[in-house]
């Protein structure tokens, strides 16, 4: 028996070796660096909790935290709302809409474009003096002065949120659609016979049964959103302009490490980010499932 068991380890060994070298080791090393003043070269000197003390009083990090939430939050509400409405339209039994496969690919398409192309594209579209968006708005008379979209904190944040929505609603749509098609048609037929209207079928049948799917989207989007980095970095000057409004947590981390060479402090920022992600994931999870568990116990 003992001999038989041993071979199992050989099979899982490749995964563990790679996991240890490429995941656990860097994570542990980062933890060590977060207690040092490592600058990327030379020797790392242990400075105790100094980096973490600085983290708690760092206004730029706090600013980055709120920026990240603002940008991600607006994007998430729009994205999930859009995905739900579209899923509703495409799954409606009475409408019998055709061409789902076609629209699914069209909606997903923005997600396939590399982020640098997206940033360049929108940089040109949103250009202050010569961008197409301002040209259109001026032509139809909605505005009289061109708006410098990427130079005002609020419009810059909104622009990034909307670009993210444009990129990701197709993905959410596909996942929601999969969830909707997993709901038995029997419920809808029964509701139809009972005389329920569209809104009632949506709130009483679709939404409750979609909860696990929505939770999944929310958690993955949250984790991705807290790591928001590439678009804010590429669309303006890479340090969060205008006025620090696009300074997200990971962008701040990147700049501290690779631009300012404060690797030690950047490691502390990374662990701060890790704790924040952990806390919010736990809150989302509790909020969605906590109630149900309590009810189950009571029954």
């Amino acid at each position: 028996m003992k001999n038989v068991n041993k071979y199992g380890y050989f099979f899982i060994a490749p995964f563990w070796i790679i996991f240890l070298i490429f995941s656990i080791y860097p994570v542990a090393l980062t933890f060590y660096y977060s207690f040092t003043n490592y600058t990327g070269s030379g020797v790392a000197e242990v400075v105790g909790l100094a980096n973490y003390k600085r983290l708690f009083t760092d206004t730029y990090f706090v600013e980055a935290f709120f920026n990240t939430w603002k940008i991600w939050g607006i994007n998430f509400i729009l994205q999930i709302g859009l995905a739900l409405i579209l899923a509703l339209i495409f799954s409606d039994m009475r409408m019998k809409l055709r061409g789902l496969a076609f629209f699914r690919s069209i909606f997903y398409l923005p997600n396939l474009i590399t982020i640098s192309s997206v940033a360049l594209l929108f940089g040109i579209l949103l250009d202050w003096q010569h961008g197409s968006l301002n040209m259109i708005l001026l032509k139809i008379g909605l505005i009289s002065e061109p708006i410098n979209w990427l130079n005002e904190p609020t419009t810059a944040q909104l622009s990034v949120s909307l670009i993210l929505t444009w990129m990701w609603f197709g993905h959410s749509f596909i996942v929601v659609m999969a969830g909707v098609s997993g709901i038995s048609k029997d419920y809808y037929e029964a509701a139809l016979i009972d005389g329920a209207n569209r809104f009632q079928t949506f709130t009483k049948i679709t939404l409750p049964l979609l909860k696990p799917i929505l939770l999944y989207i929310m958690i993955t989007s949250l984790i991705g959103g807290l790591q928001l980095f590439d678009l804010p970095m590429l669309i303006t000057d890479g340090i969060g302009s205008p006025d620090g409004s696009l300074n997200t947590m990971v962008l701040y981390l990147y700049n501290q490490a690779f631009k300012y060479n404060n690797y030690g402090y950047a490691s502390a920022v990374a662990y701060g980010l890790f704790v924040i992600t952990l806390i919010f994931s736990a809150i989302v999870f509790k909020g969605m499932y906590g109630k149900e568990r309590k009810q189950a116990r009571q029954v």
Binding site: G40, W128, H130, E145
Partner: protein
């Protein structure tokens, strides 16, 4: 059906594993190939391709050139240099991170035997040679080029507005910031824009008093001239002297050849840009590649103060196993009369190596610049450049200060607040700096 699916999945997974294996053997193969390579060079442009081919032919060896885009170059190169695994024998450095690297000690000390680079000091443009030195004055990197800047302008507009298109005359008119504004006002009266954007004059921000951002006591210093620059930039904006075409944006390029539209104060007007503030390489890699119709209508002259922009240095990796050959390559790039003459004639690059520039500078004439000898002009400019003002903090601090200027010009922050924020950002990025409190 289920069984078939399971079988199918297994087959797919297996194929994946096998593909992985074959990939592994392939990379092992390329490792063998590595052994045939005599010299490894890393750089951030394809500029070195031709010289390397020449070097290969000359010595009958094989050189491998790795090109990493500039944005990733420092982050990719640093770990390789730190660990020494897969490291290049020769690598280039751009001015933006040059100071950091000469002090980091990755480059071999060229002041020592057998290189003795100090002996050839007099053959170089002083500022170029000095920038390759580390804190202790040892030469770590050399460069073949010098990159002083000038102001490129359109002759036809100069003739119409200023009455002359002679570079010397126009240069005299723009000899100070006040002079620049006078010319700008004249341009505006005729419907032209002096510069594409406010950023164009940042190179003259030092004014008459060039000082490094950080002095040897580790103190951040913001000179009065640099503070005054805030007002200069604002003057440009408030008087509508520019075409509001941000540097490197599509309209910035468009403005070189034809009139562009500007919307300001609820009005739209079409304007032509008079001048672009660019260095030596701006002529070949920016203007020539984007200008069609107005080729030949350009000239270059000096602005209010001399400046330089960019530049590439190269040196030998100090843990290289092939230092002799590596230095041979550096030598060819920086000291080989025959090669450099050929290089300069082919690319128009302004060299830092006097023996060659002295021989060729007299019969240079650029068709694009209406027959002007830009080579001689730039060499004269190069002599006036102060090498001591470059620090390893420049790239970031310039960005921070550029942001402060932008905020002030846009009217979002007062001068005091903009400067205060600049100080805060500088302190945040470099906690060790001594930054003024207000």
């Amino acid at each position: 059906m289920k069984k078939f699916l399971a079988l199918f999945m297994t087959a797919v997974l297996l194929a994946g594993v096998l593909a992985g294996c074959s990939g592994g053997s392939e990379s092992a193969g390329s490792k063998d190939k590595d052994k045939d390579v005599d010299l490894k060079v890393w750089s951030f442009t394809d500029e070195l391709k031709k010289p390397i081919t020449k070097f290969e032919e000359k010595n009958g060896i094989k050189v491998e050139l790795t090109i990493v885009p500039i944005a990733d170059y420092p982050t990719k190169l640093k770990p390789v240099l730190e660990s020494g695994v897969g490291a290049p024998d020769v690598f280039t450095g751009e001015i933006a991170f040059l100071k950091q690297w000469v002090d980091a000690g990755y480059w071999e000390n060229l002041s020592e035997d057998p290189y003795n680079a100090d002996e050839i000091k007099d053959k170089y443009v002083p500022y170029v040679f000095d920038l390759g030195k580390d804190e202790d004055g040892n030469v770590r990197a050399l460069s073949w080029q010098t990159t002083p800047g000038g102001v490129f302008y359109k002759r036809s507009i100069a003739k119409e507005v200023l009455g002359t298109d002679d570079p010397a005359e126009v240069g005299k008119m723009m000899g100070s910031m006040d002079g620049v504004f006078e010319v700008a006002e004249k341009m505006k009266e005729k419907g032209y824009s002096m510069f594409p954007d406010e950023g164009a004059i940042r190179w003259f921000a030092q004014g008459e008093n060039p000082q490094p951002w950080v002095n040897d006591k580790n103190e951040l210093q913001l000179t009065d001239e640099k503070i005054e620059f805030l007002d200069h930039a604002k003057t440009l904006r408030e008087n509508s002297y520019t075409a509001l075409a941000a540097e490197w944006s599509p309209s910035w390029f468009e403005g070189m050849d034809k009139p562009i539209k500007v919307k300001q104060d609820g009005k739209e007007k079409e304007t032509q840009v008079f001048s672009y503030v660019l260095p030596t390489w701006g002529l070949h890699s920016v203007l020539k590649t984007n200008v069609k119709e107005s080729a030949g209508d350009w000239a270059v002259t000096s602005g209010p103060s001399p400046y330089f922009w960019g530049g590439t240095w190269l040196g030998v990796y100090n843990k290289s196993e092939n230092k002799e050959l590596a230095y041979d390559f550096v030598k060819m790039m920086t000291q080989d009369d025959e090669f450099l003459t050929e290089w300069a004639k082919e690319t128009g690059d302004v060299l830092a190596y006097n023996p060659v520039t002295n021989a060729i500078k007299d019969d240079f004439s650029s068709e694009f610049l209406g027959g002007q000898n830009n080579y001689e002009f730039f060499l004269e400019q190069a002599k006036e450049i102060e090498p001591g003002i470059v620090t390893k903090y420049d790239q970031q601090l310039d960005t921070f200060y550029g942001n402060a200027v932008q905020q002030y010009v846009d009217g979002k922050k007062s001068k005091k607040d903009a400067i205060k924020e600049f100080y805060q950002k500088a302190q945040n990025a470099y906690p060790d700096l001594k930054v003024p409190k207000n």
